[in-house]
Symmetry: C2
Subunit: 240 residues, 2 copies
Amino acid sequence: MQLILDFGNTFQKCAVFDRENMISDIKFEKISLNDIVDYTNSFPNIKSCILSSVMNTPEDIIDYLNHKFDFIELNSKSLIPITNKYSTPDTLGKDRLAAAVAVCKLAKGKAALSIDIGTAIKFDLVNSDKEYLGGSISPGLFLRFKSLHTFTAKLPLVDYNNLHSLIGTDTQTSILSGVMNGAIAEVNAFIEIYKSQYEGILIFITGGESIYFVNHIKSKIFAVSNLVLIGLNEILLFNE
Amino acid sequence: MQLILDFGNTFQKCAVFDRENMISDIKFEKISLNDIVDYTNSFPNIKSCILSSVMNTPEDIIDYLNHKFDFIELNSKSLIPITNKYSTPDTLGKDRLAAAVAVCKLAKGKAALSIDIGTAIKFDLVNSDKEYLGGSISPGLFLRFKSLHTFTAKLPLVDYNNLHSLIGTDTQTSILSGVMNGAIAEVNAFIEIYKSQYEGILIFITGGESIYFVNHIKSKIFAVSNLVLIGLNEILLFNE
């Protein structure tokens, strides 16, 4: 069994995989060593562990993982099962890399696109030669709402809502239309361009805000809730 | 002749119209009464004036305009040459209302769409019955760049650039692709939906950031640099 740790800014996720199958996952807002000890105590067969972190991980957690498991911390020098063609691998988000590894595996030799919709909307492309080529980053829904409120004098902070007609008739519905319909249009347009450039490409969508998109995507897509965890597990297995 | 004043948060614009023709315009970063006196001294035939302001306009400016000209300050109760169907006219941005009046005039009886791309991207629709129906608001390019930098831990502040391939290969070009291609895709998609719902609709684009869009719009559009000033002038003439 493998322990997969994905420490983001907002949440820290832990999961246990048995080879390629995820058998458990849990999410924390501010993880501690005790949380990890408690969680892993239920799985005595865990042998190895991978950590992807965007935060300064506490020393006691690193020490514990190092002593208890075959442990690797993902960085730009880690061995991965795809070729990283990004021109600045040092600055590539580990979540983007892990998502690319995951969609490459799931697409089984076809070109694959990961669309990760969370704080940001991230597109990441792996071609049929298992080469990660790059992609794009734009603000997620909350960042769009927040920027209109924070950086203008008069606009209110509007909240997600699945009801968004094209023509807003007050400030709230005007912003809802612009942000929700705009981001959906953006995602649909990018998918169409990728499909036209990469024949037979498989498209995967993931991320906390993806629930606002899946019913509005015009193309066939696969919604996978844990693309980053799956990718991290693949990287860990590749390093065995 | 008429004096048109459009005081926004970032710039204050002054223009002089002779009936429907704009014969001069000037822009200030922080306007003073002296600026207005200096500017209007060159045009002794100015009779009337309209002010649209989102800021607290200095008393001395208001006093001067009131004494010197037939003066109106635009608000939600002002007489306008279109019917305002917005459900909360008090909160409708004066720039949106003025742009709607302008495109209604320019479209000569056809349905008309104003796309104002500045701090925000604003769509505003007037139907063929000269009714303003509403529209949408989403973040402009700079707000998208700024939100990614301000509200995430690691992303840099990227600047406008007309070179934006689909697949970014480093952080900078990934953000450029997401923000520039994303906003362009959004605008194109909205135009397509409006065209499908309002036959023969005429589409006008304006605003400081519109230069990054005009060459990427797939439909026939009219680029008009001073839609808001034109609309304010129309409202002033309507009130004579």
